[in-house]
Point group: C2
Chain length 211, copies 2
């Protein structure tokens, strides 16, 4: 753990992309790859790849390149996906349902244990076999099922209150899709997915890069 502490945020942002490419190579039976070949595939420079991966100790060997499966597994460990994480979704609307139905998350170890909503019509339904429960049961469910991650796919006006509720129930990490800051204590990890902001960055590029 200590060794990974110094890694820059920019490297961390790029790691999942290495992980994806190495996973695809591994699935297609490639056992080793040079930084030059990986560079051509990923469209980043070979020196960037070497620098990034050197952060984690010398995975590559001169004249051999990288062992694909070994590097893939090591990056999984760094990303903390070498063990499962229990997750619940709060908000059973389209976005919540999209996340439940996206099976890749489960393949990476994010196990969705339940979906919560406050619409009584949803009670007792299932999405991909996962039960939809009402919000009054959420705190108890978090404690009984060792839930680590909550995905918040609810409108922003309810998000702060629900964020506080799950933090009080002991949640470590919130994957927040509501377009607001949750203002929770520092020990609660929040990863925001603000789709509006992503769309504005796209329009910024259209307006300013004049392509």
């Amino acid at each position: 753990m200590e060794e990974t502490k110094k890694i820059s945020a920019a490297v961390i942002r790029r790691l999942p992309r290495y992980y994806r490419y190495l996973g695809e190579l591994n699935e297609s039976g490639v056992q080793r790859i040079s930084s030059k070949e990986l560079s051509a595939k990923m469209k980043v420079t070979a020196s960037q790849i070497r620098q990034d991966l050197n952060n984690f100790g010398g995975f590559g060997q001169q004249g051999y390149g990288y062992n694909v499966k070994y590097l893939y597994d090591e990056i999984a460990k760094i990303l903390g996906i070498d063990r499962p994480h229990n997750m619940i979704i709060i908000g059973a609307g389209n976005l919540g349902q999209a996340i439940v139905n996206y099976e890749d998350f489960e393949k990476r170890g994010f196990v969705i244990k339940g979906v919560f909503d406050n619409n009584p019509e949803m009670e007792g339904k299932t999405i991909r076999g996962i039960p939809v429960m009402m919000m009054d049961a959420v705190s108890d469910f978090i404690k009984r099922n060792e839930i680590e991650i909550v995905a918040l796919t609810i409108p922003k006006k309810a998000a702060k209150e629900v964020g506080k509720l799950v933090a009080d129930a002991g949640i470590k990490a919130i994957w927040n899709f509501a377009h607001t800051d949750l203002n929770l204590p520092d020990e609660v990890i929040v990863e925001n997915v603000h789709l509006s902001e992503s769309l504005m960055r796209l329009s910024y590029t259209i307006a300013n890069e004049g392509r």
Copy 2:
């Protein structure tokens, strides 16, 4: 245009958040705010705020602070959302439907003109009043309706092909939710939303920041 060219990517990443806070202040009738007050609200330092906003010329005045509405409008211009952008969604599954139903995008000028899918059961249906059409009509639709942005909410195996199809039809910008690189010519702007990667950054933080 020239003036905004030098702005760093980090500042651009933060701009939509300023825009959101200024919009909320404006809606609640606040006419001016000091960098210190804005700092307390946004939980970033006042000096960061001053530095960021100085990139766009001195919006603030000593002893007065920032004029909320003026700054809000100026940031809208920088972000290119002072004019509408026509958009279509390709992929009418849960995620595509979530985007169509999220009315905030339209409020910011992203006007969804149509939804496309290849499932014949969806043909002729509407989502929030917007028609679902079949993929064989997409190129023609893009040309006739001055579509600038395509949101790709389809599985990754189809994404490269569909990306090429819409680029050939003249699309400037793709908002890509498929978990793959599109490998399009440089003149096509691509903003990726890779949800798996966001979730991995969350698990990285759980594993490494030991909170």
